[in-house]
Symmetry: C2
Subunit: 301 residues, 2 copies
Amino acid sequence: MGETTLLGIDWGSTNARAFRYDRGGTVIDRRHREIGLLRVADEGWEATFHDHFGDWREEAPTAPVILCGMVGSQQGWSEAPYVACPASTDVLGANLHLIPKSNYLIVPGVQTEDTADVPDVMRGEETQIVGLHLGETHKVCLPGTHSKWVQLDNGLITEFQTYITGELFHVLSHHSILSRTLEEGKPSDGTFLRGLDDSERNGGLLHHLFGVRGLRLFDKLSGSAQADYLSGLLIGNEVRNAIAHLTMDQSVTLVGSDELISRYVIALQHFGRAVEVVDGELAASQGLWQIAEQAGLIGSP
Amino acid sequence: MGETTLLGIDWGSTNARAFRYDRGGTVIDRRHREIGLLRVADEGWEATFHDHFGDWREEAPTAPVILCGMVGSQQGWSEAPYVACPASTDVLGANLHLIPKSNYLIVPGVQTEDTADVPDVMRGEETQIVGLHLGETHKVCLPGTHSKWVQLDNGLITEFQTYITGELFHVLSHHSILSRTLEEGKPSDGTFLRGLDDSERNGGLLHHLFGVRGLRLFDKLSGSAQADYLSGLLIGNEVRNAIAHLTMDQSVTLVGSDELISRYVIALQHFGRAVEVVDGELAASQGLWQIAEQAGLIGSP
């Protein structure tokens, strides 16, 4: 096993993915811990870091540590400012934020504004995106609680939009009138596809969501199928809006590794789009290394 | 005071509006009680009825009692079947549901289906609508937790759509990431108007909702203005979709009496529509009388 040259952690709202790299940038060890932002609050960031990664630190006390994700938010370990679009590996590497009283560095978030001056933000996804090594023009989608749709031009993040699809699914499933009749069950692709199709009707999302209730009332949808249909309505609405201005020959690169990705693959293919899927953990590990290298954190071998 | 000829109650999810009518159909007494469906569950419908309206009943033990609203739902006093569109005073009056072991009657709900066979339903609004005495063609909007947009042709309810706008506002304000930074404050029409305008941007509602977060993060929106902006985004989305297929010269009749109505007036006028506002309680009291008369419940004087 090679000497540890860098520790990198993609530390988000729900979990942390940590990587130990050798001199050549190969990941020689990795850890996945359920220690997201909300859990860390009580114990503190530094204590949590040492509980979970202290042994790595002891083994390589001089290796630089680079972090990205919600660890750099207002509620995180230390607030890392945002950089504006267009953002690239260069810009990210040149704007690392030093956590006070430490020598740990946090990758900045990225912000953009739309034509109505409404800001949008990302933290963590920028690192995955630069880790993709995509050239030319790409539309990249990172599904999640807050899905990101990113325009990438020659390695530059030029603009992006966030959709609260995942959060709305959660909130509606737990706290709305729909929660009363929702049941656990085996996922059904057929019902999901109907939700995708029904997301195109007149009336828009606020009307479509009441349709879940209507279908249940007349037993046209089982309690266990309700989640699939709701998921289809929401993902359908997001994807339709996100691809509305793409030409038909533009493909979409999906970044992630969980179950949710397969739903986005189905949705995009259902709407006639070519899709490429890239592993999210691989993208994060490559991005952290690449930004650290760009920032000069890694000495020449 | 004339003799009581009819007791009518519009009994919904959150409250009951009760009317005592004289021989000519004039309301001679009225009560507004916070005894909606969810509150009644424990005590039972019959006991609640007698607690709040028992004295009326004693005073006029032979007067018929007619009810409408969620009192006739699955979770209500007794389930009244739905009638299909097109529905009118005649159809409603001919399909009253008798609560077992009583002589109280419940107005049926109304159902419709859209082109994708997704059912939609109303309970209570149908009574208000027939109480409006509108001839010819009208588009009627009844704002609320679940807003209804109803097509009325020569006194017939020919189709309608429900929007969960009010419920989504509540759920997002209390259970989403937006709830963390929401503060109480004086309503601001300016911020509400910005929300209306911003509801037209690219990306759709799921993207626009994340914009509330973006504006707060960069202090472009105060915590107390956040509710107005969110309200503007949601009502803007509903109204835009609901009027999308109206010709520009078609006006909208708004039914209601609370604060919410003024928001819909602002929204519709902002989108260039003529608006007429009708009091919801008046509509309910007239509708109950009219359906009872149609059903032959009220003897000739």
